[in-house]
């Protein structure tokens, strides 16, 4: 059975508990996308007009470092959110994203969602709470990564 976009969005843990009317609004900004292995999803510095929910596959969030090449900072996989630069000015990607495996995702039009959030602050608040949770998790994980926990004891 083919699942509707609304169905896919409502089942995603990120949107758990979101009212049906908002699910419809959010799904109205979404589309299914598919990427081959090694494909660039977005490049550092480009306009951040979209964000993604990974449904299947693996994506590297990377940074180009002179003399070192593209360096993977983090990978995101099934169930993860990719990208939040669309939320804040100047709406440019801070990092790049490239698939490590064939990847299926839901792509959301960031401009479309920003407009809807501006028009309905309750929706905006709901989304912002959810993104804040994701950002907090990523910050915690980054702090742990910086600790170099598995290195030899000092």
């Amino acid at each position: 059975m083919i699942q509707t976009l609304e169905g896919i969005v409502s089942e995603h843990p990120f949107f758990k508990g979101l009212e049906e009317q908002y699910i419809k609004l959010v799904a109205g900004c979404a589309k299914n996308v598919r990427f081959d292995e090694g494909q660039i999803i977005f490049r550092e510095g480009d306009a951040a007009d979209q964000f993604y929910f990974i449904r299947e596959g693996l994506v590297a969030v990377e940074l180009m470092i002179p003399h070192r090449g593209f360096t993977t900072l983090q990978t995101v996989g099934e169930g993860d959110v990719l990208g939040w630069s669309w939320l804040m000015p100047p709406y440019r990607w801070r990092f790049g994203a490239r698939t490590l495996q064939p990847t299926r995702a839901l792509a959301f039009d960031g401009k479309c969602l920003r407009t809807k959030c501006d028009e309905d602050h309750d929706l905006g608040y709901e989304l912002l709470k959810r993104f804040t949770f994701v950002v907090t998790e990523r910050l915690e994980a980054t702090r742990l990564q910086l600790l170099d926990l598995y290195g030899a004891p000092a």
């Binding site: 590297a60 993977t72 900072l73 983090q74 990564q145 598995y150 030899a152």
Partner: protein, 288 residues
Amino acid sequence: MAPQLENSIAARTGADPMVPEIYCIQRLRHETDDTFTIELATVNGNGGFSFLPGQFNMIYVFGVGEVPISISSDPQNVKTFEHTTRIVGAVTRSMGHLKKGDFLGVRGPYGTHWPVEQAEGRDVIIVTGGIGLAPLRPALYYLMAHREKYHKIVLLYGARTPEDILYRRELERWRSKFDLEIQVTVDRGTRGWRGNVGVVTTMIGRSPFDSTNAVAMACGPEVMMRFAVMEFQRRGLSTQDIFLSMERNMKCAIGFCGHCQYGPAFICKDGPVFRFNRIEPIFGKAEI
């Protein structure tokens, strides 16, 4: 307790726990830049060594000193046993220079074990980082040998870099059996690494286990375990179903000296594997 496990406990009953026995190195294998595995057997090749997954030995390098190291081999192989350790001090550095045919003193096995019997009929989620995979390797061997007794088995393993991944070939072999879900992640991806990059605990949230019927085992740096516990609890695991292997400065290994006191418990005697609800009030407290 399963009969095999009871037998292994009985095997060493009666030995003086403070007197090391001499064992002979059969093999020394470098795992990564700063870790190695030694395989030991009795001097004359007779007899054996039984232990439970998660237990440790006190290893004595003659003239240098004694250190506690978890046993990392298959508990069903009683002819030889292995220890994997990182070079962190004088004893492990000396140990790393030994070769086949050299001798070591061994006291043990000591301590509590992973709840492999309690996990029967349930999903098993194992979260480990760095050298923490070594104490869980015997549990993995046990689970794989009794695969039919368990539902899903998930191993989440974090290493510093791809070059620091322990037991790489074994992990690949286990993964190829398709009845063990293995996810490896590294803190820093290096050129050519096409796997996960990120902290191992972030993988718990999307890991395919049934939190209403699962047992969790974790071993690694204590900070990693603190975050692992938070993620287990967020998934709905009860504190009774979470088991951690704790580490402190163990000396006598039999609860006499007090060096490894952890609140009301001694890690050497009451641990190293603790059911989380037993240590929850003191876990992560800076003063303990």
